[in-house]
């Protein structure tokens, strides 16, 4: 992996993480390969396409949508998602009058099983504090300019409660098959920083 020249340029964090992993392996607390498996799970199998499938289903199936909004955790049960962090999932619906956006003001709580791991900006102090104080401005800076009459609701995640936004279905996509709809739904729309 590294050449003869590179390891002297490794940042201290890289050396520290490597030192920790080697010690934990020696102590028998980690199995060789276990860390790789977790990384593969979270980068390849747990991701926002899970949430996108759920949103697409809700757009196509009014009964499912009703269930999803009433009891998110139960409604996503049939999707057999791995990844955790959704013991209690609350799905909030965007309408013409209300736009929802999700944050974790304390750290980085996020519904991994439906959205994968949080993006960098979600964990940034600027987003975590400003989206609460001035959501309209922050959303506009992120490329989402909402009409002044649209009411913005900010949802603060916690260890107990994780939120996902159900975006409004664009009129031009009405009637498209579920799989095609899912491919058009972005992670950011399900956090509420895009449409």
């Amino acid at each position: 992996m590294s050449t003869d020249h590179t390891h002297h340029h490794l940042p201290p964090q890289a050396l520290r993480a490597e030192a920790l992993e080697s010690l934990l392996l020696e102590k028998g607390l980690l199995d060789a390969g276990a860390v790789d498996s977790v990384i593969i799970r979270y980068t390849e199998r747990v991701g926002p396409m899970n949430g996108a499938k759920i949103v697409a289903r809700a757009w196509c199936d009014p009964a499912f949508k009703q269930w999803l909004l009433a009891d998110g955790s139960a409604a996503i049960g049939e999707f057999n998602l791995e990844g955790g962090q959704v013991e209690k999932l609350v799905v909030v619906e965007n309408t013409a009058a209300i736009h929802n956006v999700v944050v974790c003001t304390l750290c980085s709580c996020y519904p991994w099983a439906v959205l994968g791991l949080p993006p960098t900006w979600y964990k940034d102090p600027a987003y975590r504090s400003r989206i609460v104080r001035e959501p309209r401005t922050v959303l506009a800076e992120m490329g989402l300019a909402l009409a002044p009459e649209v009411h913005i609701k900010v949802w603060d995640s916690s260890a107990e409660l994780r939120y996902m936004v159900l975006p409004q279905q664009p009129a031009e996509t009405l009637g498209l098959p579920e799989a095609e709809l899912a491919a058009r739904i972005s992670r950011d729309a399900m956090i509420g920083v895009a449409l």
């Binding site: 590294s2 940042p11 920790l20 607390l29 990384i39 979270y42 102090p125 739904i185």
Partner: protein, 122 residues
């Protein structure tokens, strides 16, 4: 929706390649890479494995992370924020507190690795 992702990418610090954007983007990536350096994903992986092995609960880890972030915000809020540095600091502190991996032992190993002879690092 795609336009929103692109707009957000402007404000994101993560590296995004053109080949990862647009309708053909891998949905897992969805416009943004999650880890900038391998040590970050390995640190995340270690924390998850230890949690699954009940060395600590995720709630304990999360509480520790909140404390680390809060302390950073109190002390250095004028400096660049490095989430994974704080994540690693939380993990090493938790393991030191539990006597699983005391700080001096970790320091010693880190020094050993830093002084590896050329070509013997992997």
């Amino acid at each position: 929706m795609t336009a929103g992702v692109e707009a957000v990418s402007v404000t994101a610090r993560d590296i995004t390649g053109d080949e990862l954007q647009g309708p053909a983007a891998p949905p897992m990536v969805n416009g943004e890479l999650l880890f900038e350096h391998p040590w970050q994903s390995r640190t995340f992986g270690m924390a998850r494995v230890l949690c699954e092995a009940d060395v600590f609960s995720w709630d304990e880890f999360r509480a520790g992370l909140i404390g680390t972030i809060r302390a950073w915000e109190d002390d250095h809020s004028d400096q660049a924020y490095a989430y994974w540095d704080l994540f690693l600091a939380t993990l090493t502190r938790l393991l030191a507190q539990q006597q699983v991996c005391p700080e001096p032992e970790l320091q010693a190993r880190q020094t050993l690795l830093a002084n590896r002879p050329h070509g013997h690092d992997h």
